[in-house]
Structures are given as C-alpha cells and as structure tokens.
C-alpha cells in the first residue's frame, strides 16, 4: 500500500464505522474538491451505492458552475440529493454585505444546516474537512459530538485512539464525522488524479486565475495561477507558500473568526 492507499483505507474504515453506528446519517457536499473526494470515498466504501442522502447547503450565492456540476453528478451517480436553504433569511436579503460575514455564514450555512438536520432527524453528518486547512481544524477529532445548539466543546474532546470512536449519542447530540481529516490539500489533488475524480472547473486556471478554495461568489477570490489541469495544480502546490484559504473572506475578519464559527457549528 502506498501513501494514498493508506489514506483511502482509513477514510473508508471511518465512513463504514459511521454508517454502522448511525443509520440517520447524511453527507455534506459543498461541491468543492474535498467533499467531492469524500463523496467518491463514500461510493468506494459502499461499492457504488451510497445508502444515505447527500446534502448541499445552498446560500443562493454559489457559482453557476457549482449548481451545474452538482446536478450532473447527482444524476450520474444516482445520489439522493437534499438541497438545504435558509429560505426565510434569503428572502430577507441576508448577504455578506449586510452585517458581518460571521452573521451571514451563521444564517445561510450553519442555520440552514440546522434546519435540514431537524427536518430529517439526522444523528450524524459526514464532512470533508482536513487538518491542514486551518489551525482550528487541526484540532478536530474524527467523531466529534455537538449539542443541539451545535456547540463544539473544543476544550474537552473525547479521547480517540486505535480507531475506537466515541459514538454514543445523547438525545440532544449529533455527531460530526470527518473521514478526510488526515488528507492534505496536496494529497487530495494527488488522489483526484489517481482516481480520476470529476472536479468542478472553477479550480482550473482561466485567463491566469483559478480558485484554490471555493464557496460563495462574493466571499471567494481567485489566485493568480496558470495551472489548468490536475497535474499542473499538483506542481503548483508543491512550491506554493500561500495558505489554501487565503482567498476565503470569512477566515480573515479576525484571527479567531474560524474558531468562533466552528464553535457555533460552522462546517
């Protein structure tokens, strides 16, 4: 087994463990490269037939390419796709320019997710976050309990050793499960290459710019890049010195915005 085999095997083990523990489970798909990789791993874990719903939290501010890509893969892979939108706040005109970004992310993402979890009675959510994305994400566990308010008690997390995960769920809790935690950004791209995983075209350079991390149109900036293929992206990352999320506005408001967002249940 090479490095990618090891990463893949661990992820599949965690996905299967999660499904064994929780039948009321779903996967959160942002349509970005990480969660698309996670989706691919779910297909592998279940031999092509993902037995749970795939949730896309739609703020209404996503790129058109993302909607098109989402619907195409959902069709081709026979996914049970659930689109979650905080319709009330979208109608009220919530956006990143009205109030703070923290507030916008909280309403259109975190609260939209809360609504979906309540509506479908979900006990566990699979997410494609990775440790190397951000210092706060580096502290995550594979199985992370959250209370009804979505609070993450990051000061007192359960021990997690030898692939034994805390999974007993109290009435008021749900679990965040992170099967991709041990992948780096470079690992993801090398795995995408090896497995030939379809990736939304926004990541590939056009006119000297590409997105390294994608989300909502107003809060994402492209980077200067001529990397227009997976191979070129891999080469670029090997020498890059800027952080992956440099183009993500919500990380920048203040040093601890990401921690505050995650403590409140942000993905």
């Amino acid at each position: 087994m090479d490095h990618l085999d090891q990463l893949e095997s661990k992820s599949i083990y965690i996905i299967r463990e999660a499904y064994y523990r929780f039948k009321d489970i779903a996967m959160l798909w942002s349509v970005g490269k990480d969660s698309t990789t996670l989706l691919w791993l779910c297909r592998k874990a279940f031999f092509g037939k993902v037995p749970f719903p795939i949730i896309h939290i739609d703020t209404g501010y996503k790129f058109p390419e993302m909607y098109e890509f989402r619907d195409r893969l959902a069709r081709e892979w026979g996914l049970n796709l659930i689109v979650g939108r905080n319709e009330e706040k979208i109608k009220e005109g919530m956006g990143p320019f009205k109030g703070s970004k923290l507030e916008c992310c909280t309403e259109l993402k975190t609260n939209a997710l809360k609504q979906v979890i309540a509506k479908y009675g979900l006990k566990a959510i699979l997410l494609g976050i990775r440790r190397d994305e951000h210092g706060i994400r580096a502290k995550e566990r594979y199985f992370s309990p959250r209370d009804t308010q979505f609070k993450w008690n990051y000061e007192d997390q359960p021990a997690e050793i030898w692939d034994q995960y805390k999974s007993k769920v109290e009435e008021e809790e749900h679990f965040r499960i992170h099967p991709l935690l041990h992948f780096t950004e470079l690992d993801v791209w090398e795995y995408v290459k090896r497995e030939n995983i379809p990736i939304v075209e926004l990541y590939f350079a056009k006119d000297g710019k590409r997105f390294r991390s994608i989300g909502c149109v107003p809060c994402c900036s492209p980077i200067e890049s001529n990397a227009s293929s997976v191979d070129e992206i891999i080469e670029e990352l090997k020498i890059s010195k800027t952080p992956e999320r440099a183009g993500r506005a919500q990380d920048k408001e203040d040093t601890y915005t990401m921690q505050k967002l995650r403590a409140l249940g942000y993905m």
Binding site: K44, G135, T242
Partner: protein, 409 residues
C-alpha cells in the same frame, strides 16, 4: 511497501519546548506560509510577546492567551525526500487524554527534555505511555542547550537520567541529540555551538525512521458490517494483520467454522486476487450465514477466545474508576460489557516509586495491571504479537476512559 511519509509525535514535560521545536522545524524547512508567519507575528505583538512559534500549533484562543497547549493537533511539512506529519501533544497532566489521542496515531516519537530542568514528571509519564502505545522508534532531544552554555557535561548528565528511565521501560532511543529549538541548533542543520557532538540533527534522525511495516503475520479480518449489494452479501472490514487471497481457507473464529474465500471485493477493481495489511475491503466467503460485526475471519495460528483478560491499562479521563463500575470493552470491531475484576497493581508513571497492590480504584493518569471479566468471550492476540488485535479501549457511560494492551498468556 513504499511509503514516503512519516507521522511522529513530539512529547515531553510542560515548557520543555515541544511547540517551539515544531515551529523551528517548519521554519527551517521553509514550510511556513508567509501569511501564517505574519498572522503569528501580529498575534504575538497584540499579546505583547516575541514571535511565538508555539502559536503555529496553538491555534485556540485559550491556548494563545494562557500560553499552553490544550489539545493535540497535526501539521505537515516536506523535505525533498519525504512528507512528515507532526503530531503536537499537550504536556499538562490534565490534558493527558489529548496527548494519548495524538501519540496513538504516531509511527515514531521525539521526547523532548529541557537541559536546564532535566527529567520531570511528564517526561516520565510520556515516556511510559510511549512504551504502552508500542512506539519503538524514539529520538530524545535535550533542548535549551543555549541556557546551559552548550555544556557537554550537562548534556551527558541529562542523557544518562533519561536513558536509565527509558531502558526500564524497554525503550532504547535511537538518538539522543543536544539542541536549541529557539536558536535552531541541531534542528535542521549542525550547530557550530555544539562542535563536540557528531551525531545527526533532528531532521536527519527523523529521516532514518520508518513508516508502517508489513510483516509476515497470520491473517485477521474483524468484520465491520455486512452489505447487500446487487443481491450479493459482502462482509466489509479492514485487514488488521497478514494478507488474504482468493480461494484461501480461513476460519470464522467467532463461530469456529472453517470455510474459504470466494471473492475479494474492491470498488471498480475486477476480481482482485489478494488484499494486504491495512486495506479496507469486502470479502465473500463460501459459507457466511450468520456472520456479522464482531466476528473475526482468521488464519492459523488463531486468536485466543476468552472472557477473562489480563492487561495493562492507562487511565485517560479526569474521572476515577471504582471497582465494581460497569465498563464497555472495545477491541477492533468487537464489543463486550464487563468490569475490572481485579486491580493487581497500579501506579502513577510520573513517580514510579509508589506501587500499590490490590487497590480499589484507579485515578486519572494512573496506569494499572488488571484482570477484566467480560460477559462473553472476545478474540484477542497478545499486543506483542499482533498489536491491532491486542489493544483495547474501555468506556464508561459511552465515554472512552482508558486504553490498554493484552498481556501474553
């Protein structure tokens, strides 16, 4: 087996320099994004400190303000030869479960000791836990050599202390290196201040450690779940030891039945011939009715089935165990209810002097030799033979409270 990555943990007493060493490794290997360095510089300034490398890992607000590491974290760096994953682990006793969570994922360890302070409580505790976690690739670094005037005598003294303690635990460090993480001596490049030392730098020492090794061992496949896919029933799980081939004879050890492997299942791979250690796969057996999670498919020599286990455990949670409390036992995909029937010996690994026999309770961060009685037999191998099948987690009320290893016999 080609694996060009290594996961290692840095452990040691509070303030002996774990996070600083990590910052230095990243800085000297040019793995630190400029923005990240800038963010750390700015935060350090707001808090009125010099540039604090520790902030790299200590991302939590509470950690920066209190100047300590609370949780374990991981960070990545690359050299031309290899990718490294550094696992940072907190040194405070109250965060011991986080230290164990981090260290349990490592393939090698760096134990850091302050040259000035010498061996302290958490140095001993962490050393002890490394031995229980089965980590054998250990490098000791004697840090803050700048504070002791780069004295060879002081280095030899501390080296002697730590080597004596570790050898009692069966740990023989591959290297003992004098360094200053703050100044960069002997981390990524040899130090002009330490001319009397001719051994490797920290980076060179790490380069000699190996990732996971495939050894010839009997086959173990604990069943994780059973899936129905296109009318076919597939046992899924991970090969925890050895390898398996299509057509091979195997034993369903939970049931004691012999059967054979009809097929190995991997998505998008046409009828694979074999699967090896570490792979998450599916298996179809000739006879598999009634097989489910917790059964172990194996080859000779078979694991031992027993409802009474003797083992060593380390307590992770901040709540004590009182004899008679019910526990849940988890080993690979097996689960059983039970209790700790006997506490043969227990002690605090930070002060090995006080060993207590026949105790009635186990306190946080203590280790103990125990006999565990379960409500039904489980399948185990001695930890020294097949670690994956010889290590377990104990839960109380759904919370993992202790880890342990199965003794021989």
């Amino acid at each position: 087996m080609t694996d060009d990555s290594l996961k290692f943990v840095i452990v040691g007493h509070v303030d002996h320099g774990k996070s600083t060493l990590i910052g230095r490794l990243l800085y000297d290997t040019s793995s630190l994004p400029e923005e990240k360095f800038e963010e750390i510089r700015a935060t350090s300034e707001i808090l009125g400190k010099e540039v604090e490398f520790a902030f790299l890992m200590d991302a939590l607000k509470e950690e920066r303000e209190r100047g300590i590491t609370i949780d374990t974290a991981q960070i990545f760096f690359r050299t031309p030869e290899r990718t490294y994953v550094i696992i940072d682990a907190p040194g405070h006793k109250e965060f011991i479960k986080n230290m164990i969570t981090g260290a349990s994922q490592a393939e090698a360890a760096v134990l850091i000791v302050d040259a000035d302070e010498g061996v302290r409580e958490q140095t001993k505790r962490h050393g002890y836990l490394l031995s229980m976690l089965g980590l054998r690739q250990v490098c000791v670094v004697i840090n803050k050599m700048d504070l002791v005037g780069y004295s060879r005598e002081r280095f030899e003294e501390v080296k002697g202390d730590i080597a004596a303690y570790l050898s009692d635990l069966g740990i023989f460090p591959s290297f003992v290196i004098p360094i200053s993480a703050l100044r960069g001596d002997n981390v990524a490049s040899p130090s002009p201040n330490l001319k009397w030392y001719s051994g490797p730098t920290v980076l060179e020492a790490l380069g000699t450690f190996e990732g996971i090794k495939i050894e010839k061992r009997p086959f173990r496949f604990p069943v994780q779940d059973v899936y129905q896919v296109d009318g076919k029933s597939i046992l899924v799980g991970r090969v925890e030891s050895g390898e398996v081939r299509r057509g091979q004879k195997v034993v369903v050890t939970g049931k004691g039945e012999e059967t054979s492997v009809v097929s190995i299942e991997k998505f998008l791979v046409e009828n694979p011939e074999k699967a090896q250690y570490g792979e998450s796969i599916g298996l179809c057996l000739k006879r598999q009715e009634g097989i489910g999670r917790g059964d172990v498919i194996a080859s000779e020599p078979l694991p031992r089935a027993t409802d009474t286990l003797r083992g060593s455990i380390f307590w992770m949670e901040n709540l004590p165990y009182r004899k008679g409390d019910k526990v849940a036992f988890r080993c690979v995909t097996q689960e059983a209810e039970g209790e700790i029937e006997e506490i043969l010996r227990k002690y605090d690994p930070a002060s090995m002097e006080k060993k207590e026999e026949g105790a009635q309770e186990i306190l946080p961060a203590e280790v103990a030799e125990v006999v565990i009685k379960l409500d039904h037999p489980v399948l185990v191998d001695p930890f020294s033979f097949i670690p994956e099948m010889g290590r377990f987690v104990i839960e109380v009320g759904g919370i993992p409270v202790a880890g342990g290893i199965v003794s021989e016999g």
